[in-house]
């Protein structure tokens, strides 16, 4: 049920592979927004941490210096206030400064002669010394009094100093981290705001009709989108130009093909009327053949017009098949389900399939509708091998019409695709050849 023929152009209704629309099979592609949000979160947190660490170190150092200065200043003030003499051990009354500092006056023999409540009875540091020194528990500043007979020590516990340093540092670190987090939220909002024009461009593209004269995408909302607008507008112009050329060509082709066909029919009508009765059956057959040719040409012209859509109508399959009285071919219609299809396109497809069946040795074709919107033809011809049938099916599926001999199967496949369906070559019940023309959803 097939024969050789030239390749044809892209068909109406042909479905592009999914990958070609930018959507790969399976997982969706990564989201730019989500990736940017993740990068900003990590970046903000890392920046916050880096700031926090440096703040921590700086604060520890500065607080240490500040506390030392305070110790020194306290010692100098106390040194000026303390009495010069006094050999007896005295413990000063508790004062407010005892909460922060401890102090003692040590004489030349390493005896503590005066001290605050918190200060130990032993000197903070064993040999008398001036300046800063550390013991296990204390940070001490020593100041020589008088002629160096006595030494004043002012001290602070190391634990208190560490606590003060920690409190200052932790609040600074938390502030730095909070700034990092706020920066993240601000950047995230900014990205969302700047992404909105891209989303709006996508919406405008979805509603864009590039083939309408003068149609443009409008003004670009961001400088970065100007090139996208320009490219799409140029693409639309190129498409519109190609469509205009194609329309002009199909109008000329239609005129060149339709007019002689009308002439042939008119001449045959005159011949039929004027010819002797013996010639009339033969002329009638010629006229029927011309009529079939008209249908095929009309269908081809419709099919290859890029803006032509099938005009669906309720199909009376019995009446349609009666249009094809093919010599030496019996056509039997089995219980037909209702069909919605373009009558001209379906007629062209069926006419070609029936012609092919007859030319390939079939004497009988059974036409049936095995399911909704599917027409099946089973002939009693010699058929083809299973391997050949599968190869033909693969070629039809891939629209590799160069590998499909003849116009019949190609035209039927294009008609099926124009309706949103496909042509299938199922295994025939007997020895013949079978085709199933699915015509998409009716309606």
């Amino acid at each position: 049920m097939s024969s050789g023929g030239p390749s044809t152009g892209p068909a109406r209704g042909a479905r592009a592979p999914l990958a070609a629309s930018g959507v790969a099979d399976g997982a969706p592609p990564p989201s730019i927004r989500r990736r940017l949000a993740r990068a900003m979160l990590v970046g903000s947190m890392l920046a916050g941490l880096a700031v926090a660490v440096s703040v921590w170190l700086a604060v520890i150092e500065e607080v240490d210096e500040l506390l030392d200065d305070t110790l020194q200043a306290s010692a100098e003030v106390m040194g000026a206030l303390l009495p010069a003499g006094g050999a007896s051990i005295a413990v000063a009354a508790p004062s407010h400064s005892d909460e922060r500092f401890a102090w003692q006056v040590v004489d030349a023999s390493q005896r503590v002669v005066m001290r605050s409540q918190r200060a130990p009875v032993q000197p903070f540091v064993p040999p008398p010394m001036a300046g800063f020194a550390d013991s296990a528990q204390w940070r001490v500043y020593g100041l020589a009094l008088g002629q160096g007979a006595r030494t004043l020590y002012v001290a602070q516990t190391r634990a208190e100093r560490a606590e003060a340093q920690f409190e200052v540092a932790i609040s600074s670190v938390l502030a730095a981290l909070a700034v990092g987090l706020l920066t993240y939220f601000w950047l995230s909002g900014l990205v969302r705001h700047e992404w909105a024009p891209v989303q709006r461009l996508s919406d405008r593209l979805a509603a864009h009709e590039p083939l309408v004269a003068g149609a443009t995408l409008g003004t670009a909302e961001r400088a970065e989108l100007l090139s996208v607008h320009r490219s799409i507008d140029q693409l639309g112009q190129r498409l519109a130009q190609r469509l205009a050329h194609e329309r002009a060509f199909t109008a000329q082709a239609a005129h060149a093909l339709r007019t002689p066909l009308a002439g042939i029919d008119a001449q045959l009508a005159v011949c039929l009327r004027e010819s002797p009765p013996a010639l009339q059956p033969r002329l009638q057959r010629v006229r029927e053949a011309a009529s079939r040719l008209q249908r095929v040409v009309a269908a081809l012209l419709t099919l290859f017009r890029s803006d032509g859509e099938p005009v669906r109508d309720a199909i009376d399959l019995d009446a349609l098949l009666h249009q094809f009285p093919i010599e030496r071919l019996r056509i039997e219609l089995q219980a037909a389900l209702p069909l919605q299809a373009d009558p001209d396109l379906l007629a062209a497809a069926l006419a070609n399939l029936l012609d092919n069946a007859q030319r390939h040795g079939a004497s009988r074709v059974v036409v049936s509708t095995p399911s909704a919107q599917v027409v099946r033809l089973d002939d009693d011809g010699p058929g083809v091998s299973a391997e050949r049938r599968q190869a033909l099916q693969q070629a039809l599926d891939a629209q590799a019409y160069d590998d499909v001999p003849g116009l019949g199967l190609t035209l039927a496949d294009l008609v099926a695709r124009a309706h949103g369906g496909r042509l299938r070559l199922p295994a025939a019940a007997g020895s013949g050849f079978a085709v199933e023309l699915s015509l998409g959803a009716g309606g």
Partner: protein, 221 residues
């Protein structure tokens, strides 16, 4: 009916001319607009126009005629089958639109329908007293009895029936029946009128002296 056919394709033009003549119409066939303009002012019942012609657009030609107030029914014969082409054709003054290829039988049927509309009849029949003229069946009867007419007699009766009740000038009637490409003798029309009166009754066709003839259906239809 007298038809003006403008079609540049020889095979189609000749086929249509012969087929329509066989249907009893008078056909003046021209291959371009320039030659068709030569018969401007001639009476035609229908213009049959191709859209794409060697020296211009049939549709523009029709628009120009309509702009000048000419109302002869026009039928476009064209290969342009797009919806907007059909709409443009009809909006530009065409009364009907036939897409090529078409069967001449369909064209003939559409011409009969246009004839009925011209005659102002709801169906294809015009009754004048005892005479019933069926424009679709191309048949005439008197008191229920079928009357056979020659092609010329039918053409004459049809031309009058399509204009029943109004005066048809003698010259117009001659051209409607014989067309412009046929040499006619000076009394050929009278001969056919006389023959029709003999077959269908003297009162059927009235003579308006010095002007022409009228299918007299006053009070009869």
């Amino acid at each position: 009916m007298r038809l003006l056919l403008i079609e540049d394709d020889d095979i189609l033009g000749e086929g249509l001319r012969d087929y329509l003549r066989g249907e009893g119409h008078t056909v003046d066939w021209f291959r371009d607009l320039r030659h068709a303009d030569a018969v401007r002012g001639e009476p035609f019942d229908v213009w049959l126009l191709d859209w794409q012609l060697p020296d211009g657009s049939g549709l523009e030609w029709l628009r120009a005629r309509r702009a000048k107030g000419e109302t002869t029914p026009a039928l476009m014969l064209t290969a342009r089958d797009r919806l907007n082409d059909r709409v443009t054709g009809l909006d530009s003054g065409a009364d009907d639109y036939l897409v090529k290829p078409f069967a001449p039988e369909e064209l003939a049927a559409r011409l009969r329908a246009m004839g009925r509309r011209s005659a102002g009849a709801a169906d294809a029949r015009v009754r004048v007293g005892p005479v019933l003229i069926d424009l679709q069946a191309r048949a005439v009867s008197r008191d229920g009895e079928r009357v056979d007419l020659t092609a010329r007699e039918w053409a004459l009766l049809e031309a009058l029936a399509m204009r029943s009740g109004r005066i048809v000038l003698k010259g117009e009637l001659e051209r409607l029946v014989h067309g412009s490409d046929v040499e006619i003798t000076s009394n050929a029309l009278e001969v056919h009128i006389s023959s029709l009166r003999r077959k269908l009754g003297r009162e059927l066709i009235g003579t308006v002296r010095g002007l022409g003839y009228r299918l007299d259906d006053t009070g009869a239809r």
